[in-house]
């Protein structure tokens, strides 16, 4: 019966373009888009931002030119006010005279175009601050006579840039560099997102079976509701396992190749494989719970799809948790999608079973509770079926 059941569910899903899109295409698309978005180097992002520098009155032209060079050396583009720009820096009276005296409060006004995102604005502010620090160092060295008198401005700028460089002070553990890969965040997240979307095919099948009398017909067969339910769950488990393998192969091999990122290595293969089973258990349990709660296709799409998208957002799939407000980040730690993606990341990054045990336990408890609740509701609803 199980083989026939798996075959049936697989054929139904294979014939349903919407299910295929949701289970396979959607997560792969998100993997690619988010890897590309997260993989964009900061220097490339900065290059696209242009800043215009304008003097309101009584400016030291050489000082302004020096500032422009330091801003350029931070990667930002410098344009004239007449050209297209994303941010403008207005230098007001008193700036030049007070640069070395900790005076001149508010003599620089930084404005942004409405199109510039909050993240880019923050980045521009920080880069302008670095440029101003270098300008201050430049002025100090000039004042001290550290530059040769006939040294051209560009060489002075290069000298200050070299003096101010701190890159050599910082080094990163080789193992830790794995976490720099954007794929480590985007692949597990969107793989999990796809797995939890199994709720849609499960819901639609259950609703169809109820509406067309198949479930009623099955009531006269020598199989209990429990057996039928677990057979169905197991069938979808097999379908999800296939989906997990496919998305893992695409995510770990194809997406890095397409997005020119380093290929992800599974550092703890046994944990990665085991985590697949636990995640599928939780995802199928959750999907069945939602599927038995809904009564119509509309409810399935709104409730099933909506809750999944909400959970994905809360779990840091769309906005990384570390830049979320603290309250939201705390909520994320209660999300099964978050536990699932963390578990996959642990498998990829080489965590031990002990380190992963809390996520494994949480997923087991969550999946079990969902399955029990779903079975009770399924039984209750099935007993209320009658010939119509």
């Amino acid at each position: 019966m199980l083989i026939q059941s798996v075959k049936k569910e697989a054929i139904i899903i294979a014939n349903d373009l919407h299910s295929l899109a949701v289970l396979i295409l959607l997560p792969i698309t998100f993997m690619i888009i988010m890897t590309l978005a997260m993989g964009e180097q900061q220097e490339n992002l900065v290059k696209k931002i242009n800043i215009a520098i304008e003097c309101e009155s009584q400016c030291d032209d050489e000082q302004l030119s020096t500032l422009a060079h330091y801003i350029k050396s931070s990667g930002l583009g410098v344009n004239q006010m007449d050209d297209k720009f994303d941010a403008s820096l207005m230098v007001q009276a008193g700036f030049s005279d007070n640069l070395l005296m900790r005076l001149g409060e508010g003599t620089l006004v930084l404005d942004f175009s409405p199109q510039l995102s909050p993240q880019s604005r923050t980045m521009v502010v920080e880069l302008v601050k670095v440029a101003l620090s270098k300008l201050k160092l430049h002025a100090y060295m000039e004042d001290n006579g550290d530059f040769d008198e006939d040294l051209p401005l560009l060489e002075k700028v290069a000298l200050v840039n070299t003096s101010a460089s701190v890159d050599y002070l910082i080094t990163q553990d080789e193992e830790q560099q794995l976490f720099n890969a954007p794929t480590l965040y985007s692949i597990p997240s969107w793989l999990i997102f796809g797995l939890y979307f199994i709720v849609l095919p499960i819901s639609t099948t259950l609703i169809k079976e109820k509406e067309n009398g198949t479930l009623l017909r099955i009531q006269t067969y020598p199989i209990s509701n429990h057996y039928y339910f677990f057979n169905k769950a197991l069938s979808y488990g097999v379908v999800s396992l296939f989906q997990w393998i496919l998305l893992s192969v695409v995510g770990l091999l194809c997406v890095p190749w397409l997005t020119e990122q380093a290929v992800l290595v599974i550092n703890s293969p046994s944990l990665y494989v085991l985590s697949g089973f636990f995640i599928i258990f939780a995802a199928i349990g959750f999907a069945f719970l939602l599927a038995v709660l809904v009564n119509t296709f509309e409810q399935a799409i709104v409730l099933g799809g909506g809750i999944n998208i909400l959970l994905a957002a809360l779990s840091g799939f769309m906005v990384p948790i570390d830049i979320m407000p603290q309250a939201l980040a705390k909520i994320a730690s209660f999300s099964p999608m978050y536990w699932s993606s963390e578990l996959l990341k642990q498998g990829l990054s080489g965590a031990t079973f002990t380190q992963a045990s809390s996520n494994l336990l949480l997923l087991t408890c969550f999946g079990s509770i969902c399955f029990i609740a779903a079975l009770i509701i399924f039984n209750y609803k099935t007993k209320r079926l009658s010939w119509t």
């Binding site: 019966m1 049936k8 139904i12 009398g213 009623l216 009531q219 006269t220 067969y221 010939w387």
Partner: protein
């Protein structure tokens, strides 16, 4: 792609996978004082209903919408638990040591009005799946598949996706799935709805063949002519009660007496106070009550030659339906 033309089925083969376990004519399902009230409803959907379904016969359950047909069938197949009364399957639960549910699982198949199968699967895959639910042995499954396909003449479309079948073939698949369970009792809900007359007749022929095979059919339909054609017994329900049972019972017989148009005959009939129609050449009297019939014969005992003709007939299902419905409304 053109759908294959459905062949006529004059020679449709119907074979029984398992011998019927109950002799034809004996009671196979007995419902006693059955009542059921849905939660939140003030009135009983089925009230004190007692009926006996005979083995090997086709029993029609008819009635207007809301009469309690669906609830009755749900109670008979244990889909609902009665608020009062009981349903028994024979050989009795005690005799075969089976619970009601086990009896139903072994003997009953449902054919809902909807296409209760998976449209994405082929005919064969649908049958394979449903057979796997009831038959654990692999070798038996194959035999059941071949037999079900043959019974409903679905062999030539066996690889076709169910969604792409014509209405007639879909109805046949709906029936084939039920037959693949080798049931003794089949509950059918309007199995011919939405198909052309030729396909409809094919389905009726198939059901008649099943009857001949000794299968017990319980048939609900609004197509009264089909019920009349197929059913041996009819239960007419109204507001959860059986207001007329059986089209073959004596109660449903009509005796039409034709009298010569003589003054004396007219006077005798008028004296009885029975309504009769006076045609140009005859007086005609329809009697379905045996007491009344006796009175007439007593009245005419001295003048039996005044009776020109005696004709026995049965009320049609239509008449039964409308007469009973009117009587109930009064």
């Amino acid at each position: 792609m053109l759908k294959p033309q459905m062949p006529l089925m004059p020679d449709m083969q119907v074979t029984s996978a398992t011998p019927n376990r109950q002799s034809p004519g004996n009671t196979i399902i007995q419902a006693t004082d059955l009542s059921y009230k849905y939660r939140g409803n003030e009135h009983f959907s089925v009230h004190n209903l007692s009926l006996a379904i005979k083995a090997g016969q086709c029993t029609g359950i008819i009635g207007p919408n809301g009469a309690g047909k669906s609830t009755t069938i749900s109670l008979l197949c244990a889909l609902l638990t009665p608020s009062q009364g009981e349903v028994s399957y024979y050989p009795s639960d005690k005799d075969n040591n089976l619970s009601l549910q086990e009896n139903i699982e072994q003997k009953v198949a449902l054919i809902p009005q909807e296409y209760a199968f998976y449209p994405e699967l082929s005919v064969k895959q649908n049958l394979e799946y449903f057979i796997s639910l009831s038959e654990p042995k692999r070798e038996n499954r194959k035999a059941l598949l071949v037999q079900s396909l043959a019974q409903c003449q679905l062999q030539q479309v066996s690889k076709q996706k169910a969604a792409s079948l014509s209405g007639g073939y879909k109805r046949r698949l709906n029936i084939a799935i039920a037959l693949s369970k080798s049931p003794d009792i089949i509950f059918l809900d309007e199995p011919t709805v939405g198909i052309d007359p030729v396909s409809r007749q094919d389905i009726i022929n198939l059901l008649e063949q099943l009857k001949k095979q000794g299968k017990t059919l319980i048939y609900t339909s609004h197509m009264l002519n089909e019920v009349e054609q197929l059913c041996d017994d009819v239960i007419l329900l109204e507001q959860g009660r059986a207001i007329a049972i059986s089209q073959t019972s004596d109660d449903n017989m009509v005796v039409t007496l034709e009298f010569f148009p003589e003054q004396q005959n007219s006077a005798l009939l008028t004296a009885l106070g029975l309504p009769f129609s006076a045609e140009q050449t005859n007086f005609t009297l329809n009697i379905s009550d045996t007491v009344q019939l006796q009175q007439v014969f007593l009245q005419f005992s001295d003048n039996l030659t005044g009776i020109k003709n005696i004709h026995f007939s049965q009320n049609s299902i239509d008449q039964l339906y409308f007469n009973s419905y009117k009587a109930s409304a009064c």
